[in-house]
Symmetry: C2
Subunit: 231 residues, 2 copies
């Protein structure tokens, strides 16, 4: 049962719905139609209804969607209602940034431990969490029932650590290292490749410039022609 596979595109959009519903909730909006929401989010109402109906009928004809109810339901779908025990591997700036992001705890992501290879970091305390050496790693994961790991270490060490995490029973890796990890089918990896993100930005700003350049040249070409005509 429940055989339908949810497309990747839909999963990508779910957290964005969640965020907009949170904003609506905070500003005291009780109900919203797919049409109103579509205007705010700059997507089609049709897409919103299609997306939501992958998971069930959360709305009511003639009324729309109850904001609080829909918010809660999407939270359940995303697994935000459960608790996820997390370790952070790599206690550099990025690892610490994640550790300090308080909102994560609010959503059920509990940082159980931080690890690093650098002996100068080991023993330091960030947000009440002691930074440990990676020797402990496997035992710690088992003892603390850790399910997820954020990987904020250089790519050179990432593959090796990922293997150890998987062997220790980790089921989800949030990968910030600049490599694609090879893991078994029952382990999920979510990549945050910051350098790729920055390159996309670079591509887009450059192609925007090129476009403006072309339009300007076109303008000049027109003027050129006009001048020619006058001769």
């Amino acid at each position: 049962m429940e055989g339908r596979e949810i497309s990747k595109a839909v999963v990508t959009r779910l957290p964005r719905y969640y965020r907009y519903l949170e904003e609506l909730l905070e500003s005291g909006v009780e109900r919203i139609s797919s049409n109103e929401l579509s205007v705010r989010m700059k997507v089609t109402a049709s897409q919103i209804r299609q997306d939501l109906n992958n998971f069930g009928g959360f709305g009511q004809q003639g009324y729309g969607y109850n904001v609080k109810y829909l918010y809660t339901e999407i939270g359940k779908i995303l697994g935000i209602d459960r608790e996820h025990n997390l370790v952070i591997i790599g206690a550099g700036n990025l690892g610490q940034a994640i550790a300090n992001y308080a909102n994560f705890e609010k959503r059920g992501f509990i940082i159980k431990g931080m690890f690093d290879i650098n002996p100068r970091l080991i023993g330091l305390v960030v947000r009440g969490i002691e930074i440990r050496g990676v020797d402990d790693l496997e035992q710690f994961i088992v003892d603390n029932n850790v399910q997820m790991a954020a990987l904020t270490i250089p790519k050179t060490k990432a593959a090796e650590i990922a293997d150890r995490l998987v062997d220790a029973g980790i089921k989800a890796i949030w990968n910030f290292a600049r490599v694609d990890l090879n893991v078994p089918d029952d382990v999920v990896v979510e990549n945050v490749h910051l350098s790729e993100s920055l390159m996309r930005l670079s591509y887009r700003v450059c192609s925007m410039q090129d476009q403006e350049e072309r339009m300007k040249n076109q303008e000049e070409g027109k003027h050129e022609k006009e001048r020619e005509h006058r001769h």
Copy 2:
């Protein structure tokens, strides 16, 4: 001319090609066929050829692609061959993580300045860059010919700062704040919504668990039936 619009999906994949080509280059591989590359990258050879041919014919029949040439050309397409002056707004852990990521400079992204609102951070020096107060912001952007800004501040301040950046002439915003920014058409925004990324991971690990649960139940159901049959 050059009127064909490149699809978002293609742009997303380009930096990944770039990364794989870099690896090949580093390991001394001179030439590669779309087929070999497709195996490494776990995509179809057809997709690789289609993607690349959006920008021109970089390969040669019977030979494949010259790794170094293709790497350079994709670099040009991504704008990595040019220099981009960058400021970081928000000098917290995340801002510092970006400032410390040396690779960015290697690819032509030059961090001209860092800014923060927190007076306790102002005056500190990170990687040789002094953290400034935001009063300076507009003047600094103009004086230093800054084109891009990384926004690593809380969502409450993000919209206001984004407006100021745009007014000062910024053309690209790398947005880490948990909001969608409203900017004019000629300004590009690349979002890195970490909380959404983590929720996607959560979704996927939960649906993986559910799936395994279902399979287990199915197994048990089968055994149940077998037991019934024996009676």
